[in-house]
Amino acid sequence: MNIENKKIEEFLENKIRNSSAAVKTSDDFTELLMKRINAENNLIADEVKNDKIARNIIISFVSLIVIMIGLIAFSSKGSDADVTNSNTIKVQPAVQTSNEMITQVLLFFKNIFFEVFNYLGINFSMNTLLILLIVIGVIAVFMLVEKLLVRSKLKSSAESR
């Protein structure tokens, strides 16, 4: 390509670039868009707030379930030990008091559950309750993990939206 041809190429390329000048957005385009952006921003803020609340509720619920499972397991182990070793081991008064408190708390939750399920016409044992709590706990953890996974997937597919 000689110099003249090269100059013509550049001249033509500039003309192609200048062709964009013929197409312009309307005068109020930016103003309208910024209004929509502000509205969108409020929606995003609300969404973030709701997400945070939902996450906290799920985490609290999972924690409660885990604590209850722990308490039930601890209590049933304690009661087994009481039956077998009640005549051989002397329990210290402080430990006994804390055990009683845990048992009281456990009984309180247990009674609530049994009352609720009796009201619904369902009758089951302590072991069934334990399994049920584990199942609820697993579902809650699954929901939490899924929420986090969905968020990361959304992040990667944003370009194609």
Binding site: F11, E13, I16, S20, T25, F29, L33, I44
Partner: protein, 232 residues
């Protein structure tokens, strides 16, 4: 030699993109930190260039502006929701969103017209239609063919050449005009265009070359090469 010229242009384009990249990243950081007003800078910078791209697909200013609003909102959400990774080029990311939004609007528009041909399919079809628009352009210009006037009036000749280029891009099949717009107006590289349109790199280069060559041919049919030297 043509390849040499293209490589030089690509280098210049790369340098320009690098400084644009840094500027965009600074603005994006501000937006992420809650400065919504900074987004206006992005809007002002890209709106007209992006509208040119949308016009090539949607062919209508109202539809193109609607799609552009949607594209800007999607981009904003992507920024604040941390979906845009700062190490990537913002302009490529943005134009990808613009192109995908245009496709969505195109599909919606075509479904209303009961036309099922998708733009992606059309874009991937063969290049046999490159010559068709030249005939209609030649016919259009033949009636007001007043070559001698331009020899004496450089400004008039320049504006006439600009008019021919504008009309050529407007009448050219979209698969060519879209590429010209993306390369020369949106300042995207061959690789970026290839990745956004999901076309092979060779097809992108070939179509760009053919599109530019056609415009050059139309202009040289109307103006002598020696005369054009006077307008440079």
């Amino acid at each position: 030699m043509f390849i040499f010229s293209e490589n030089k242009n690509t280098l210049v384009q790369r340098e320009r993109q690098s400084s644009i990249f840094d500027l965009d990243i600074n603005i994006i950081k501000k937006i992420k930190s809650g400065d919504i007003a900074s987004y206006k800078t992005i809007v002002e910078k890209y709106k007209d260039k992006a509208l040119n791209l949308l016009m090539k697909i949607l062919k209508n200013i109202e539809d193109s502006e609607d799609a552009l609003q949607d594209a800007f909102i999607k981009t904003y959400k992507a920024i604040v929701e941390d979906q845009f990774e700062e190490r990537a080029s913002f302009s490529t990311y943005f134009y990808r969103i613009v192109y995908n939004t245009a496709l969505d609007h195109y599909k919606r528009k075509k479904s209303k017209e009961f036309n099922n041909i998708s733009f992606d399919e059309y874009l991937s079809s063969g290049d046999e239609d490159v010559d068709s628009f030249q005939i209609s352009l030649e016919k259009r210009f033949i009636s007001d063919y007043t070559k001698d006037v331009y020899k004496t009036d450089v400004a008039l000749a320049n504006s006439e050449i600009q008019r021919i280029v504008n009309d050529s891009i407007g009448l050219m099949p979209e698969k060519y005009s879209l590429l010209l717009t993306m390369f020369y107006i949106n300042d995207l590289s061959y690789d970026e265009i290839s990745s956004i349109l999901k076309l092979p790199l060779g097809t992108v280069k070939n179509r760009l070359f053919r599109a530019k060559d056609k415009i050059k041919e139309i202009i040289l049919n109307r103006f002598n090469e020696k005369d054009i030297q006077l307008y440079l």
